[in-house]
Symmetry: C2
Subunit: 491 residues, 2 copies
C-alpha cells in the first residue's frame, strides 16, 4: 500500500488531512463543510461514546432526545445566546419542493413557506429549557440530569475534518438544580469526567481550567474546559462544561417550589464533547507512519498477520493463531486475523501501522517449527520474538504498557512545550518559535486579552483550576496580576 | 398517582396518546410535528438499538455517518425517489440570521442565501450512493455493508407521537453488491433479522412479505416488509428492506470492475426501522392500566417496593432486598429498589404498572417475620407469596414466562383477527366490524388496489412470503388470482 503521508515536520496540516483520509477515518462530502465519518473512524467514535455514556449513567444521568429544529424566536430569548449563534446557523424556510416549470429537476415551492423559520440546532439549550418548563414544578423534580447524543450544525466558513465542520456529532448534557452550589458541583463533576476520559482513555493529558469572559459559552455564567496540546504546538479545546446560572431558567420561565413552598428560578448547567475529540486523538499521538491509537479506544487492539505460501501453510498457521485469538477474545481483547491472500504481509504491516492498531502479531511457517511468534508494538515500533505460549500474557501487558507509554510521551511533550514567560517580547518569541502553552500574567481585562489576540493570534486557553497564587505583572500592560493563565494559539 | 387513562374499548386513539405521555415515553414539542423522547421512553429505544446494532454487526455490517443535508439536485437524480420525497421535505435556504431592524429579535439575513438549497435528509440513499462512487472500484471493495443511526425529517401534515412524526430516529442500512442474487439475499437476510427482532425481543408476531408496486419504496425494485397487527385491528408496518437493483448505482454512476475486469453497475439494498417501533411496542401489548413491556426490552425488569413504617423498618427491609437485588443483578437482570418516602406503596404499584415494569416484588415487615415476599407479574396481574429464598429463581422463570406469554397473547389476537374473505361485501363488512388482517384474492393490478383503497381505506399490507398457491378470484374484479394477499387498514 502506498502511504506517502506528508511528514509532520514539513507540513503538519497536510499530514493531518491526509492521515484522516488514508486511515479511513473521514472524508469531505459533497455538502460544503459536512463530513462523512467512514466505518473505521466511526468505530473509534463508537468506543468513545460507549465509555462516556457509561460515565454519564454512572453519575445518574439519563439520555433523551429533543427536536432537531428550533423556532427562530426561541433562539432570541436569551440575549447573549442568540448573539453567539445567529451568525452561523442553517435556516429552514420551506417544507416542500415541486417540479420546476422546465421539467428539469425540482425547485422550492414558494407556497410552502413556513410561518416561522426553523433553525437547525447549533446547541439545544433553548429547545430543552422550553421543555423543562413543563417537567419541573417542585424541588422533588430536581435535579434533572439529562444527556443527548445528537448532530448539530454551525455554519462555519473554514472547515477541517473533525476539528471544525458545519455538522458534527456530540453529546450535550443539560441539567437543572435547586441551588447554585449544586449546579456548580455538577459543572465541576462533568469537567472531571471529561478530564478522566481524556487522560485515561485517550491517553491525552489535559489542563483543566475556566474560560475568561471573552471565551465563555453564549449564555453561561462560567465555562470550564479541558485544553490539550497538539504536536504542532497548538492548543485544542477538548470539552466544555458550563454553569448557566439562572439565565435559561429566566429566559424560559422555569421555576420550582422549594421545600418552604416558595417559587424560585432553577439553576442550570450544560456540557459537551464532540467528534472534535477524534481530531484531538489523531493529533495527540500519531506519527509519520500513521495513526497511533491508545489500546483503550482502538477498535482492533491486536492484529494477527499470517506469513504463508499456499493454502496448506495458511491453514496450519490459522490453527495456531486461532488458539491465541480465542484466548485474547476471552480476556476482552479485540483481535483480527487477516487471512487475505490478495495482499502481501508487508502491505498488511503498513496498513495496520497506518490505522494505528496497537499490537501486531506475525506468525509464519518458521515460527511454527520453532514454536515462536513475533510481536510488534505500534507506538515505539519495537518488535521481538516470543515463545508462542507466552503470546497472550505478552500482549496483555503490552496493551497496558502502550496505553501508559503514549500518555507519558504526550505528557512529556506538553511539559517540554509549556513555558513561563514574563515579558511580551519573550511571549511573542516563544509563540513564533516553539509555540505550546505559555504561562503568563494577565491583568484580568477583556481589553488586554483582545489586544494580545489581535497582535499575536494567541488566546487565553484557560485560567487553570490548579493555578497557584503568585504576584506578578501583566505581560502586556504591566498591571498587577495574582496568577498565571495559559495562553496559546489554538485550533 | 392519578392515572385516569382512557379505556381502549372507548377511545383507542386517546388511550394511546395519553399512555405515551403519562408513562413518560414522549411528548409533543414546540416545533410542529417534532417530538421529545423522554428519558424513560428513550431508555427503551436504547435497548432496541443495542439489540439491533449487535444483530447488524454479527452479520458483518459496520456503522458510519453521512451528512444531514442533501443538495437539492441529488434528490432529483433518481426519478421515482424525488417523486416520493419532494412533497414533504424541510428545505434549508439560508445560513445566517441578523438582528431585525426594529431591534426585536432576529430575521433571516437575505444576503446569506445558499446557492443551492439543501434538503434535510428524508432518507440517505442519494448522499450515500454519491459517496459510494468513490469507495467502490472493484469486486474487492464489495460487498460494502454499512449502517447508520440517524435522525431524518419528513414533513408530515398529520403527526402522532412515535407513529408519524416530522423528525424521527432510525437506522438505515445501505449495502452494495457485485451481483443481483447477493443483493437479494441481503435484502431477505435483513428482513429476517427484523422479523426475529420483532418476535423474539418485542414479543410481537409479524407477517413477512413483499409490498405491491404501489407501496414500494421510491427507488426500489422490490420492498420487503414486516407487518404487525395492533389491538384496534389496524396494521402497522414495522420495518422495510429494499432491493434497489441498480437504480441508485445508475443514478450516481457507481461501477465496479468484476473479476474478469469488466465494468458493471453495482447492486444495492437499503433497510430501516425507526422510532415507529416504539409505537408498535406500546400498542401491541399494553392495557387500560398502562404499558406492558416485554422483559427483553424493559429498562427496569424488576422493581422492589418496600412496605414500611419509619426508617428502622425500611433499613431492615433494605437489607433483605439488597441480597435479592444483587443476586438478580449478577444474573444480568435490571432491578430498581424504590425507597422513596414521599409516595405510598399503592402509588408506586400504580406507577410501575403504568410504566410496564414486568415484575414487582413487595417486601413488608410481616414478610420479614414470615420469610416471604410477594411477587406480581405485570402482564396477567397475578400475584403470589413465595419463600424469600425462592425469589430469585421465581423471578428468573417469570421473566421468561412473561416474554413468551405476551407473544402468545399477541399471536392469538392476530389469529383471531385474521379473516379469509371471498367477496367484496364480506371484505367491507369485516373491515367495518372487526378489522384485522384480511386474506383475500386480488387480480395483481395497481388499478384494483387503488380502487379498493379509495372505497375502503384498506391497503394491501403485503404479499406474504409464505403465501400458498391457491387458485381464486379477485374480490373486486373477479379476475383470476393465484394467492391471497393481506389487506388491512393501517397506521
Amino acid at each position: 500500500m502506498s502511504k506517502g503521508l506528508p511528514k509532520r515536520s514539513e507540513d503538519y496540516s497536510a499530514w493531518y488531512n491526509e492521515l484522516v483520509k488514508r486511515a479511513d477515518l473521514a472524508e469531505n462530502s459533497a455538502v460544503r463543510g459536512c463530513m462523512v465519518i467512514k466505518p473505521y473512524g466511526f468505530s473509534i467514535w463508537e468506543k468513545m461514546q460507549s465509555v462516556l455514556d457509561k460515565m454519564f449513567k454512572d453519575t445518574g444521568h439519563s439520555n433523551a432526545y429533543f427536536p432537531l429544529f428550533i423556532p427562530k424566536s426561541y433562539l432570541s430569548k436569551e440575549a447573549s445566546h442568540v448573539e453567539g449563534f445567529a451568525k452561523e446557523c442553517a435556516v429552514v424556510t420551506h417544507y416542500r419542493l415541486k417540479n420546476s416549470p422546465d421539467g428539469k429537476g425540482v425547485i422550492v415551492d414558494p407556497e410552502a413557506k413556513l410561518e416561522e423559520e426553523l433553525i437547525v440546532r447549533p446547541t439545544s439549550e433553548t429547545v430543552i429549557w422550553s421543555t423543562y418548563k413543563n417537567w419541573i414544578q417542585s424541588y422533588r423534580d430536581l435535579p434533572l440530569l439529562v444527556n443527548q447524543w445528537a448532530n448539530v450544525v454551525r455554519w462555519e466558513m473554514r472547515t477541517r475534518l473533525f476539528l471544525r465542520t458545519a455538522e458534527f456529532l456530540w453529546q450535550e448534557g443539560h441539567t437543572a438544580h435547586s441551588t447554585s452550589q449544586e449546579a456548580i458541583r455538577e459543572t465541576e463533576q462533568m469537567l472531571e469526567i471529561y478530564g478522566n476520559f481524556a487522560e485515561q482513555f485517550m491517553a491525552m493529558p489535559v489542563v483543566k481550567g475556566k474560560k475568561t469572559a471573552n471565551e465563555r459559552f453564549a449564555g453561561a455564567e462560567d465555562t470550564y474546559c479541558i485544553e490539550a496540546l497538539m504536536q504542532d504546538g497548538k492548543a485544542l479545546q477538548a470539552g466544555t462544561s458550563h454553569f448557566l446560572g439562572q439565565n435559561f431558567a429566566k429566559a424560559f420561565d422555569v421555576k420550582f417550589a422549594n421545600q418552604a413552598g416558595q417559587l424560585d428560578f432553577v439553576w442550570g448547567t450544560s456540557w459537551g464533547v464532540s467528534t472534535r475529540l477524534m481530531g484531538a486523538l489523531i493529533m495527540a499521538h500519531s506519527d509519520d507512519e500513521g495513526l497511533v491509537l491508545p489500546p483503550a479506544l482502538a477498535p482492533i487492539q491486536v492484529v494477527i498477520v499470517p506469513i504463508f505460501k499456499g493454502k496448506e501453510q495458511l491453514e496450519l498457521i490459522r490453527e495456531k493463531a486461532d488458539v491465541i485469538r480465542k484466548q485474547l477474545l476471552a480476556k476482552g481483547i479485540s483481535v483480527k486475523f487477516d487471512d487475505r491472500d490478495t495482499q502481501t504481509p508487508g502491505f498488511k504491516f503498513a496498513e495496520y501501522e497506518l490505522k494505528g492498531v496497537p499490537v501486531r502479531l506475525a506468525l509464519g511457517a518458521r515460527d511454527l517449527e520453532n514454536g515462536t511468534i513475533e510481536i510488534a508494538r505500534r507506538d515505539t515500533k519495537e518488535k521481538k520474538s516470543f515463545k508462542i505460549e507466552e503470546a497472550v500474557t505478552q500482549v496483555e501487558s503490552l496493551l497496558t504498557d502502550i496505553q501508559q507509554n503514549i500518555f507519558n510521551k504526550a505528557l512529556k511533550f506538553r511539559e517540554e512545550n509549556t513555558t513561563k514567560v514574563d515579558s511580551f517580547d519573550e511571549f511573542v518569541k516563544i509563540l513564533d518559535t516553539k509555540g505550546g502553552f505559555i504561562l503568563a500574567h494577565w491583568d484580568g481585562t477583556s481589553e488586554t486579552e483582545e489586544k494580545i489576540k489581535e497582535e499575536t493570534k494567541a488566546t487565553i486557553r484557560c485560567i487553570p483550576l490548579d493555578a497557584k497564587e503568585e504576584p506578578g505583572k501583566c505581560i502586556y500592560t504591566g498591571k498587577p496580576s495574582t496568577k498565571r493563565v495559559v495562553f496559546a494559539r489554538a485550533y
